[in-house]
């Protein structure tokens, strides 16, 4: 396993819920080839397998809070408290916050788990992101590429 792993979380058939997947798709060609890029539905047991053996996990997910659609937030587990939308009101209620906590309880948390949350507007069934969230996914992609460059 590479030192760094990039994980996009979401469901591309639930509109902006696919923002995290879109961000890693945009970032993939710009990342070093030895950095694994994994897509996940966010289910915690799978998520903690995705980052098994990695020192740094960079996770991109959609969030649902009061922020502007497309707004990108960065949080680092253990350093910043994961904001509520990432631990409770995320589109994956049993998602990243739970996965980090579960990994910690099992002694399997990477040294660093960095989360980029892209605020979504629509989580209805359907394909494609709304315009603001598409732009947010591009911003998140740029920021995660920068983050990886610092980590590798």
């Amino acid at each position: 396993m590479s030192r760094v792993v990039v994980i996009g979380v979401g469901n591309a058939f639930r509109s902006d819920d696919g923002a995290g997947l879109r961000a890693v798709e945009l970032a993939r060609p710009l990342l070093p080839p030895d950095v694994p890029v994994i897509e996940s539905d966010g289910e915690p047991a799978r998520l903690i397998d995705c980052w098994r053996g990695a020192e740094v996990a960079i996770v991109v997910d959609a969030s649902r809070s009061d922020a502007e659609p497309g707004f990108v937030r960065r949080a680092e587990a253990g350093r910043d408290p994961l904001p509520d939308p990432l631990s409770g009101g995320s589109t994956h209620a049993l998602g990243i916050g739970e996965a980090v906590a579960l990994a910690e309880a099992l002694g399997r948390r990477p040294e660093r788990v960095i989360v980029f949350a892209i605020e979504g507007a629509s989580f209805d069934a359907g394909e494609g992101l709304t315009a603001a969230v598409e732009a947010g996914a591009a911003v998140a992609a740029e920021r995660l590429v920068e983050e990886v460059a610092v980590c590798v």
Partner: protein, 434 residues
């Protein structure tokens, strides 16, 4: 949470956020009697039905796999069964076995997730799996190890673990070699031991007294424990071909839920899922699974839904055992898929998703385009039964304090492993007494 009078109260659970479904629960109590129970569920299949119209007959396995991240194989297999039925094709032999094998992977993964991460914390008094893991690390590791084997089966045969891409109408794009399956067998031996330990573990939980016999419905086939084929049979005499589903099951829209509620034509609500399969096909479990069930104190009939966690664990053990049997007997097929040419007409398909019977129906035109699609997931079939159970459960336990009653209701809902139970806790839980 407010507390005004024990006789009149309303319990409300507003939101359950989870990608596979969203839901809430409302229970109204007046003068010491339950007056209303509403389970609100959002389910996406209705959107997919519209989305499927005009698509090629080869597309439903890939499209419907996206409906649920927890049970994509079930959607793929019911879709394949229905399309093949419309086109007059029967897939059997090694291809049927491979389908059964990948389905075993899904049962192992989905059931283990539910048993360990969602339901066991209810019985052991933890808020969720994270808190349970702190005190029971080895047990949770066993669950994760077991779940991962299910995942690996799906990944090997399905091409990837989430929304598998190797399943097609008629079979697979590529069939695995015997050599490729061999490493799975070693892992499954360990998984079978872990599954047996799981049965013993959950059998030791405390179960509320809540015997509740009802009409259990499942596929039933003379040769095998129900997964991929058979007739639809109930414990009260229903015995129909899958093609007769629409004549015997009616769906109605209820105001409080996005999901349609299914009833039998007799007006009775019914129950699909592990307990239904177990009650109808106990004798078809493998010797190991049947013996473990007996040792766990289960008879051939289980009517306490709280014991569904034990039944689910028995099915995981069966799935490990069955996967080992299939791998040992596996002969590589001559071709990875049977050719399926489109035929104008209607096809019907059912398979046993981890949480119950999943029905698909497709109408095709002569060019193989989908004219109409219908999908009835297990959760909408079980929803009236869940509400019925909650009604009686609350009435029997009105002496409990609000918080305790609320937790027990959540546990009762999780007995049925509805998609909404993907969340271990309900958000914004409130109890109001008037």
């Amino acid at each position: 949470m407010t507390h005004k009078s024990p006789a009149n109260r309303a319990m409300k659970v507003d939101a359950l956020a989870r990608v596979e479904g969203e839901g809430g629960m409302y229970v109204g109590v007046e003068d010491g009697r339950v007056t209303d129970v509403q389970l609100r569920i959002f389910e996406p299949p209705r959107f997919f039905e519209a989305f499927l119209r005009g698509r090629r007959y080869t597309e439903p396995p890939d499209i419907t796999a996206r409906i649920c991240g927890i049970c994509p194989i079930a959607y793929q297999m019911s879709a394949c069964n229905a399309i093949e039925d419309a086109c007059g094709v029967v897939v059997d032999g090694p291809l049927h076995d491979l389908r059964r094998l990948i389905y075993c992977g899904e049962w192992i993964e989905s059931h283990t997730l539910h048993v360990y991460m969602l339901h066991a914390p209810d019985f052991l008094g933890y808020e969720g799996a994270v808190q349970m893991a702190a005190d029971h690390r080895e047990t949770v590791e066993r669950g994760l190890r077991l779940k991962k084997v299910g995942n690996e089966i799906i990944e090997l045969i399905g091409g990837r673990a989430i929304h598998p891409v190797n399943v097609r109408v008629g079979g697979f794009y590529r069939a695995p070699t015997r050599r490729e399956l061999r490493p799975l067998a070693a892992k499954l031996e360990q998984a079978r031991d872990d599954a047996l330990e799981t049965v013993r573990w959950v059998a030791g939980f405390d179960f509320p007294e809540f015997e509740h016999d009802q009409e259990y419905v499942s596929l039933l086939h003379p040769d095998e424990y129900p997964i991929m084929r058979g007739r639809l049979v109930s414990t009260r005499g229903l015995d129909i071909a899958v093609s007769e589903f629409d004549e015997h099951v009616t769906e109605e829209h209820v105001e409080h839920s996005n999901a349609l509620h299914a009833h039998l034509a007799t007006g009775e609500h019914y129950f699909v899922g592990p307990m239904a399969r177990y009650n109808l096909a106990f004798e078809q479990l493998s010797d190991v699974a049947r013996a473990a069930a007996t040792d766990a104190g289960l008879g051939p009939q289980v009517t306490n839904p709280f014991r569904s966690i034990v039944v689910r664990a028995v099915e995981v053990l069966y799935a490990c055992d069955e996967a080992l049997r299939i791998i040992a007997a596996y002969e590589e097929p001559d071709r990875p898929a049977v050719p399926v040419e489109p035929v104008a007409g209607v096809g019907y398909g059912c398979s046993e998703a981890p949480r119950g019977t999943l029905y698909h129906r497709y109408q095709l035109d002569a060019d193989g385009l989908i004219v109409d699609a219908k999908i009835v997931p297990p959760t909408s079939q079980n929803q009236p039964t869940i509400e019925h159970d909650l009604w009686h459960f609350v009435e029997d336990h009105l002496d409990l304090a609000d918080e305790q009653l609320g937790l027990r209701c959540e546990q009762a809902i999780r007995n049925y492993d509805p998609c909404i139970s993907c969340a271990t806790h309900f958000l914004d839980f409130r109890v109001e007494r008037r």
